[in-house]
Symmetry: C2
Subunit: 349 residues, 2 copies
Amino acid sequence: MPLHNDKLLVHSWAPAPPGWLERVSARFPGLDVRWEQTPMGKDDLVAADTLPAEVKDGVTMICVFPPPSPEMMKHVRFVQLASAGSDRWLQHPSYLNPDVQFCSASGCHAPQIAEWVFGSWLSFTHHFQAYTEQQKAQDWRMRVDLPVKDGLGRRMGILGYGAIGRQCARLASAFGLEVYAFTNSPRLTPESRKHDGFTISGTGDPDGIIPAKWFSGGQVNEFLAQDLDVLVISTPLTSSTRGLIGAEQFKLMSKSKTFVSNIGRGPIIDTAALVEALETGLICGAALDVQDPEPLPAGHPLWTAPNVFISPHMSWSSTSITPRLAELLYQNLERLDKGEPLLNLIKKT
Amino acid sequence: MPLHNDKLLVHSWAPAPPGWLERVSARFPGLDVRWEQTPMGKDDLVAADTLPAEVKDGVTMICVFPPPSPEMMKHVRFVQLASAGSDRWLQHPSYLNPDVQFCSASGCHAPQIAEWVFGSWLSFTHHFQAYTEQQKAQDWRMRVDLPVKDGLGRRMGILGYGAIGRQCARLASAFGLEVYAFTNSPRLTPESRKHDGFTISGTGDPDGIIPAKWFSGGQVNEFLAQDLDVLVISTPLTSSTRGLIGAEQFKLMSKSKTFVSNIGRGPIIDTAALVEALETGLICGAALDVQDPEPLPAGHPLWTAPNVFISPHMSWSSTSITPRLAELLYQNLERLDKGEPLLNLIKKT
């Protein structure tokens, strides 16, 4: 349906990229565009409901992070999420309405999140924290007591092979790690292994040719038993992934003492089992950009579990995130205008 | 010259890889092999002179890290260094003797040192130190005040394009950085851009096809003025590289506030100029596995310069270093036995 009489609200903590508003106005003269900037809160982004009534009224298209109230969404026909995951929307009336098209921001976060995965893993394997402590003590002392297992010839399992997982695979391959992929549905043909979401040119594994082995569906235990040196969790949070990694799974990882990196969602891991796996050494360590619960309260045992690195759900952060998201939104406006299939359209089930 | 009546001494802080001694004895029955293990000292590896006389006597081939005394080397015809650099040997009588063949360990360190370069750079750009402090305080707080510049579309300059530089280039390319290379001699033809040293299969840039631009010799200032986001120093320490990066060069880097990573040798950088560049913000930060002097004494201003990460010359460390070095040594024994050109033969000038 061509964009006429549509009102697009973009609600972000960042300003519009230079020239973007002009480009959109020139291309879609019938579209009323409002880019509203609100500073981020301490623990979360702020919902669009806080905006003045005149900004919210009559909005038919919206690009947001936290879900606004159903009331505010009642005329909305298109939602461009600013997140890769849609788990916060699952019970939202607009999401449940089949007439409202939702697109994720998958692909916009892949470069920086894959960097976070490798940076935090390398910080662990190369003992940067110990050297930072030595630096503070001004103590120059060679530490052969801190062995480094470099990545060449090791194995990375990637649980969830979307844009982020595929960029992790690209990096893993350059570092000399073998990649095993796990996907929700079986990917038995070359065609089915292709990525159908938004991919930034020169990133990821668009054709799905990097993994040496593929696992799917009920094979999660078989996948985790493959002597993985690193496990990257980059799958959406759904009813089938909630608690997917628990005590039984950590036991499977104990043979190779897998390093676990979670940049999906906290509840994919059973937190109590994770704390125990770290404390008893079933796994060698973990890097967690997401936790369960969030915000992680002071006093929670996860904070002080051994060999864990915790960051407050910030791996998506990049000075390039807003330009990338704005480009995706522009491409989807084009597709809406021409009646073409949308990028990253979420199949609501 | 076939290996007969030769005595090979390997002096290492690590044991021989399983099966290696048997493999060498089976292949070269005339060779007397001694693998001697000495624990590493606090600030350095220990020289082979400390070994008992019966181990040192009559040695004709040697694989060592610190240079032994000339006295101990007088019958030695072949030296396999355990280091990529030969700067500690430049004044040694054996090194000055044209009849003694020296081979470097170039290539054995490339995977782990390139990991150190990217790990320390990502730790800096992704603010892991700030999040580690938050973790210690059990403070879960989103930090949009800590902007992350991810690597996609940025530029890495690599000063010295040997095995380590080439593995950095391979990784840079996967992260989406453009690579500019600087070499001592001009590399104007595809043939001249190939790597002629020992390269572990699946690593590096053996054909020299990754760099978008090449600089050489007197062009160091032109190279540094190319808006480099990251500068990797991976060139040997020679009379022409000593003090190569000083106040004038930091000024050239100030336009793009280059991040400087030194895994070459400390004296390639003028330390006083580096401290000033960090303190005045000419560069955004630095990661230094090597310093001038080493060991860096307590109280030295480099320890507390802003945005610097210092490690005690440990980026070479890997549980795979000894197997890689032993494989290179084996291949060079083969070549010596057959009279073929040696791998990593140092052209002594």
